[in-house]
């Protein structure tokens, strides 16, 4: 294909990504080092009262000719980065205005919001990963062993957690675990009484349980497809050589599935870093936040797009660092392929 026609074909797609992904990212950097505020002016208000004239001084927003408030924008450098990272604690504003509903992570002191969010995001990512791979692999092995006519139905039913709207899934889990819900009732029979949404550890546990539940079907289906292509002659040779069930699994099946395990890991890293809905639904940011939730919260609750931009830039730096191995791998592969 000629370069000219290539450019024509990819044109619309590239234009859309430039306009709505690349440009906003650049703008985010720009916004993160700025601050705008309404220009205020002092006005004298004269009131005629029966006791003579009274003058009061009040502040109000200065309006321009068309009646809009005048915004003064200035360069503030890394001020908001310091605030989000909690570096200069003195000048950091106290945990947001009180009307933010106290929803800023209570476990973390004002200031180190980002590290608090990052810590939980990492915890979530790396705790869910082994469970997703492990349970997915066990399910794949199990389904591989059942009779053919059960497989279709089982795979259909298994897909449910993966394709369901995340916010709906998180709500459903919340309703299952809330007071007077089904799960606390069942658990009370075995002597476990926990108010799941009322403590940091249990709320975090719920988010992690949600994460595992949501992603296991993906790992299961990918690994199940991989199992279909395990070389049968290698398995037979191993049987003849007297390998046990476990040894065949360990030395024939697993190495064959390794590329798929890497693939699932990389996809999961990307998606887990974005964890948002369960954090939003299950704790509303109390006890725990994630990096994506932090930006959303600062933007919509604190209504501060500049501070939110600083949080967004830090979030982006985080994902780039996390993805370096993936990028290097894909780079090498594609270089070989092209």
């Amino acid at each position: 294909m000629k370069t000219k026609s290539f450019l024509q074909f990819v044109g619309p797609s590239v234009a859309m990504m430039l306009l709505l992904l690349a440009a906003p990212l650049v703008l985010t950097f720009y916004l993160s080092v700025r601050n705008c505020a309404m220009e205020m002016e002092m006005v004298k208000i004269e009131e005629s009262t029966p006791f003579g004239k009274k003058e009061t001084l009040t502040q109000r927003a200065k309006l321009d000719a068309s009646g809009k408030a005048i915004q003064i924008c200035r360069f503030v450098g890394l001020e908001y980065y310091r605030k989000v990272l909690g570096i200069d604690a003195e000048s950091a504003e106290p945990a947001g205005p009180p009307d933010a509903g106290g929803a800023v992570a209570k476990g973390d002191k004002a200031g180190n919001e980002f590290f608090g969010a990052l810590r939980f995001t990492m915890l979530y990512t790396f705790v869910t990963l082994p469970f997703v791979l492990g349970i997915g692999f066990l399910l794949a092995l199990a389904v591989n062993g059942v009779s053919q006519n059960l497989k279709g139905a089982f795979i259909s039913a298994s897909l449910l957690p993966f394709i369901i709207t995340p916010v709906v899934a998180a709500l459903s889990i919340k309703w299952l675990f809330r007071d007077n819900g089904l799960v606390p009732y069942l658990l009370s029979h075995v002597g476990i009484e926990v108010f799941w949404m009322a403590q940091a550890w249990s709320a975090r546990l719920l988010i992690i349980v949600y994460g595992i539940w949501h992603v296991v079907p993906f790992a299961f289906i990918v690994l199940y497809a991989g199992l279909q292509s395990v070389p049968q002659d290698a398995l037979e040779a191993a049987t003849i050589d007297g390998a046990s069930r476990w040894q065949k699994l360990r030395y024939v099946t697993l190495p064959h599935l390794m590329p798929l395990i890497v693939f699932i890991t990389l996809i999961h890293l990307m998606d887990a870093y974005r964890v948002f809905e369960p954090v939003m639904v299950l704790t509303q940011g109390a006890f725990t936040t994630s990096v994506q939730y932090l930006t959303y919260h600062i933007l919509l609750q604190e209504s501060n797009p500049y501070k939110a931009s600083a949080a967004a830039v830090l979030t982006l730096i985080g994902i780039v660092v996390l993805l370096i191995p993936l990028l290097v791998k894909t780079y090498r592969e594609q270089k070989r392929g092209v």
């Binding site: 026609s5 074909f9 797609s13 992904l21 709207t165 809905e277 994506q292 990028l327």
Partner: protein, 276 residues
Amino acid sequence: MKKRPFSLSVLLYGGLLFWLVIASLPVVWTAIISFRQYLDAFSSPVKWVAPFTTENYTRLWIEKEFYRNFLNTALVTVFTVTISLTVGCLAAYALSRYRGSLGFWLLMVALMFRAIPHSSLLPSFFTLFDALGIRNTYFTLIFVLVAINQPFTIWMLRSFFINIPNELDEAALVDGCTRFQAFRRVIIPVMWPGVVTTGLFSFLLAYNDFLLSSALTSGDKMTMPAAIANSITAESETLLMQGVAGAVSITIPLIILVVIFQKQIVGGLTQGAVKG
């Protein structure tokens, strides 16, 4: 293969059954309590059987006009999928046929974009769309969703197009077709399986999106997931039960989708993987 010992069989079927229960429990239980009054839905001890009522649904769909949110979602997803696939097919076809390094770099950049946390884009979106006065319009949400889906769409479609033999369109070129004619007459007729699968995932991404939809729409423009956000903090009992009914309403189309398109979804999930 050797016959399985009995104990392993029990473990196997027991394990699968256990997973099925876990996988479906949140959805099934939500569906059950959606047909109950609040006091029957959340009670101690839990009621296994309770009077049946469709009140939550009538309240939600008629009084709260949830059908509007349903129509909004339908509109946004239909346009998002259509535009995503049209734009994506062109780009993916070119990426599967072009040999230069430009294509490789485009794919790498798209991969980076695939990983962006969506909330990182929101401060810019707010600033831009407010300045242009186009926040809270269907148009804006559709194009944002298309752009967000584009990296994934072109990667997936490309993996399908690569499997369509080069000879097919080369022959058309030799016969005097332009690139675009070759694409339209030769490739389009044979690309449908890949397009259907990619379309399904494109649909899921648009339909399931909560973060962008809830931030960019409000009032009568809200999609279903955005509208249900009210029930996250719902204190009132009727509001909460409407949320439950809403959750079920959102899920039903997805269940129908899985039943019809199970093969394509499974195929799509493994598409990228088997190559990896």
